[in-house]
């Protein structure tokens, strides 16, 4: 029995030793981590302090200490287990770091410029400091609203087709192509919209509606997917009950199925809007940039928030600080918009959503 473990050795071996052999106390990882933190801090203070150095050194010290001690006391299996645990925790910390840094940077840089004036002026005639995002907010709302107006009927009807009419071969194709569409890079959607509008309006076309079409290409697959999921949650008994009353299929869908799923559908659409409202690249290509208010999506360039933020950064003017300030504040406004939409989606699904079991 070369492979048998010492654990199973002779019947005479004393049992207490076997089950308790080698086990670090529960506080050991936390204690060792604190010690590593302290030791690394000391090293940092002696040499030169640096947050990343501190983090990295703590990690290295902790991993080395816990694995060697655990190997001694608990054996190699437990030691490997502790190593992996340390790595997994580190991965999570690593993922959290950019999130925190991002939120902090955007708030720190964006808040100072976020004044009432910033929200209520355009860039018309502004050189250097001053100016605002009013026209960009209006542009974003118009372009995204129009995109939603295009995407929601198409997406919802397609979902209804897939769920209620179960599609057949065409259905399988549509499902596949919706999958493909989710992978289209946003810049390609912009190129498509440009090529489409060029046919009607000639080369160099820029208008808000073209941006809406580009966003629709990105939004439709989202709407289809989420609506499909929500419609499938509607119990078949509800439909059958309605049919049994002699109600036509289309009225069943409109009066029974959709109202039942409305909360989920709303959530899905809201999330889809949140997804595309921050899109920059396609709008940069086809909606363009202007300094003044434009409320007609079918004529001329229309500034949107993300493009505004990008151009304030790319061509900040002189001195550049004012432009950078506008870029950050516009970014903050954009993030607030996106978070607001996400919040609405969550609230809708929390308070009006279907009660899924358990």
């Amino acid at each position: 029995m070369a492979t048998a473990t010492p654990l199973l050795a002779e019947p005479g071996a004393s049992p207490p030793l076997r089950l308790t052999r080698g086990s670090l106390p529960r506080w050991a990882p936390a204690g060792m981590f604190a010690a590593s933190l302290g030791a690394a801090l000391l090293v940092m203070l002696v040499t030169s302090f640096n947050w990343y150095g501190w983090g990295a050194l703590t990690f290295l010290l902790y991993v080395v200490v816990i694995t060697t001690v655990s190997r001694r006391v608990e054996g190699s299996r437990r030691s490997t287990d502790r190593l992996v645990t340390a790595l997994v925790f580190t991965a999570f910390a690593l993922a959290l770091l950019p999130l925190l840094a991002l939120v902090w940077t955007v708030l720190r840089r964006g808040v100072p410029g976020l004044t009432f004036e910033f929200l209520t002026t355009t860039m018309r005639g502004v050189i250097g400091a001053g100016g605002g995002v009013e026209h960009a907010i209006v542009g974003t709302l118009l372009v995204t609203g129009l995109a939603a107006l295009i995407s929601v009927p198409i997406g919802l009807l397609t979902a209804i087709y897939l769920v209620e009419y179960s599609g057949g071969r065409l259905g399988r194709w549509v499902t596949l192509m919706v999958d493909v569409m989710t992978g289209i890079p946003s810049i390609v959607a912009g190129l498509f919209a440009y090529a489409l509008f060029e046919i009607f309006f000639g080369p160099g076309v820029r208008m808000g509606a073209a941006g809406s079409v580009a966003l629709s290409v990105l939004m439709i697959p989202f709407v289809v997917r989420s609506s499909e999921e929500m419609l499938r949650l509607v119990p078949a008994e509800l439909r059958e009950a309605s049919y049994a009353l002699g109600i036509a299929k289309w009225r069943t869908v409109v009066k029974v199925v959709i109202p039942t799923a409305i909360a989920g559908l709303t959530t899905g659409v809201t999330l889809a809007v949140a997804r595309v409202i921050g899109e920059t690249a396609p709008l940069l290509l086809v909606a363009g940039l202007t300094t003044s208010m434009n409320t007609d999506p079918f004529h001329d360039r229309m500034t949107t928030l993300p493009v505004y933020a990008f151009s304030a950064f790319a061509t900040p003017g002189f001195p550049p600080e004012a432009g950078y300030q506008r870029a950050w504040s516009a970014a903050l406004v954009l993030i607030i918009l996106v978070m607001l939409l996400n919040l609405i989606a969550r609230l809708v699904s929390r308070f009006f959503g279907p009660r899924t079991g358990r």
Binding site: L102, L162, G183, Y194, P203, G246, A248, T280, F310
Partner: protein, 321 residues
């Protein structure tokens, strides 16, 4: 349709059925729904068709008419390389981290926290790419620059760190890190879902053999999740390949092909190049940009398709066993 079944339950006070108008309504509605489905197929075909048609002038034009006076292949080659290189860096960073984070949420964190932690990571997905671009330039690049300077001084014999070192930190490595952060949420979400679906039976089989937590993960969770992890990586790769603004803003472009991670002369990516050049282009140059977009479309299409194929194969496998 099921309406004709209705009269059989007659007798009650149900309103008399107006069959012809019902049937018309049904037909119209079904037609609308089917039309929407067809429209999606048309739309996608339209995307492909327009890209191809608009690319033709660039593909047939002589080198002297094209931007940089190069043939299209020479024009798109370095861009395609830059696209793949940046995406590869992103994937190399994001794959291990997202697997770790997914495991943390599914098997290591306290169960009560798991939902909140998952939501925190999902929040990253909601951040617009232009914000990532700003963050990449103003926060990340300066943070990474000293590290890259160190690599340039001590490891310059490795081609990746050959230098000269960028003074601003706006290198392809930084762009890759930004992309990694951007694709992390989607990859984590997919991995987490698949890890959470590991059958309890298999985890308990490992536990009952006296497996530690890591051994349970190694024996049951990872084998169960393998294809899910692969498809998550492919989807992440697809995202990274197509991401535009963050790269366009962060990367300082020098053109050409180079594996140097830390120099100020970086290859651009297809998407970033389009975003930066398009507003100032006209004539055949626009067609050339659209043609590069077509190349990007084909690449991401293939990657996404491969991802779906992996998932589909897994589904067959599960149904078969």
């Amino acid at each position: 349709m099921s309406a004709p079944a209705a009269p059989t339950i007659a007798g009650g006070p149900v309103t008399p059925l107006d069959a012809p108008s019902h049937r018309r309504g049904d037909r119209i509605f079904a037609g609308l729904a089917r039309g929407a489905g067809v429209l999606i197929l048309v739309l996608l075909a339209g995307v492909a068709l327009f890209l191809v048609v608009e690319s033709v002038p660039a593909l047939t034009a002589s080198s002297s008419e094209l931007p940089q006076g190069k043939s299209f292949a020479h024009y798109v080659g370095p861009l395609a390389f830059g696209t793949a290189f940046a995406a590869a860096i992103a994937l190399l960073i994001a794959a291990p981290v997202s697997i770790g984070v997914a495991l943390f949420i599914s098997h290591y964190s306290p169960r009560r926290l798991a939902g909140v932690l998952g939501y925190l990571i999902d929040l990253l997905a909601a951040v617009p790419s232009v914000v990532f671009g700003l963050w990449g330039i103003f926060w990340l690049a300066p943070q990474l620059q000293p590290g890259m300077a160190w690599l340039g001084t001590h490891l310059s014999f490795i081609p990746f760190f050959a230098g000269p070192v960028s003074a601003t930190g706006r290198t392809i490595l930084t762009a890759g890190v930004v992309l990694a952060v951007m694709i992390l949420p989607i990859m984590t979400a997919i991995c987490r879902e698949i890890f959470l679906q590991t059958p309890r039976l298999h985890e308990e089989a490992a536990l009952a053999l006296g497996a530690t937590r890591w051994e349970v993960v190694r024996m049951s969770v990872l084998p169960h999740g393998r294809s899910g992890v692969i498809s998550a990586a492919m989807l992440g790769l697809g995202r990274a390949l197509g991401e535009t603004m963050a790269v366009a803003m962060v990367l300082s472009v020098g053109g050409g092909v180079s594996v140097n991670l830390i120099s100020p002369q970086n290859p651009s990516t297809i998407a970033a190049n389009i975003a930066l050049q398009f507003p100032e282009s006209s004539g055949v140059a626009v067609n050339a940009l659209i043609a590069t977009g077509l190349v990007l479309f084909v690449i991401t299409f293939l990657v996404n398709f491969a991802a779906r194929a992996v998932v589909a194969r897994r589904k067959d496998f599960r149904e078969g066993s």
